[in-house]
Symmetry: D2
Subunit: 100 residues, 4 copies
């Protein structure tokens, strides 16, 4: 399936993409975001919605949770850097955060 191909992004391409992923930064070479929810319940509700999307595009994050906080790091080990899939997932995850 041609659309599932991973492409390593150049620094210029990464810079151009950063404007489209609100709240994400680059940290140790990974696309990074910390999201604070109001409760553990809300945080885990987000994670479950995220899990379904993650499986659908078969691109898995490094993520952690403590109570109401979720920390996410995205990187594509297969290409040794950031790929189009990291930004694709970042955009999807942004769409799942409740607007409070």
């Amino acid at each position: 399936m041609s659309e599932s191909e991973y492409k390593k992004l150049t620094d210029e391409e990464v810079k151009a993409q950063m404007g489209e992923v609100d709240g994400w930064t680059i940290k140790e070479g990974k696309l990074h975001k910390t999201i604070e929810f109001t409760t553990f319940n809300e945080a885990f509700g987000f994670m479950t919605r995220a899990a379904m999307e993650i499986e659908k595009i078969n691109h898995h994050p490094e993520w952690s949770n403590v109570y109401n906080r979720v920390v996410i790091n995205l990187v594509t080990h297969d290409v040794g850097g950031l790929s189009n899939y990291d930004f694709k997932l970042a955009k999807i995850l942004n769409g799942l955060v409740p607007k409070n």
Copy 2:
């Protein structure tokens, strides 16, 4: 634990409570609500958040899902009717529905 006691509500008490549970009706003696979400993903995210609350108060619904729709029926078999716990859960579930 005294606060977990189930109390069967009289018809008058049920009527009084109905004003506090937006979107719920009485159907075949059960507290009933159909919720339409935008997607299966959003519907199941709600169900997961609900599941955590359900377990916490140990009062379980009869509920079904088809794609973006969740149908919920609440009743307390142990008291043979509606109890304070059905309304407690209805209020909790209302609080988990995203405001679109």
Copy 3:
């Protein structure tokens, strides 16, 4: 994507497939299974794992839950009957039930 095409199955094809989906029956024209888990927790754990697979193949069940019981009905409305996708999902779901 050619492999995602829905094909309505003939009665003969349905019969042939039934041998491969342990515990499923035909009920009102739908592929049907009731699964009893030990607890609500185990039942909902199954539903979450199922939800990820359901989204991945984009074929959604009619399913309901009461406490430790999950009832599932599969049908493909677009073809007006049972399709290859109903059996595909039935097999996937069977693989997610814990062996006790």
Copy 4:
């Protein structure tokens, strides 16, 4: 509720408890376990079952996930060390890992 009281455990009490939590070690003062599942789906199914138990006892882990791996650290900040609740949760989580 008296049974929900957190008690900081002495080193001796921690040692005594370690024999009851299979696969857990002490790492940087926290009760620690890494669990490898077969897939992301199985890992997240465990996390969802865990989330319901976590909410029920209102004691939240520090945990992370990458694909099929879940890393869990338990500590009770309120008592400045390990409490009876860390071991309580460790035992509950062990009970949720599928036996393969």
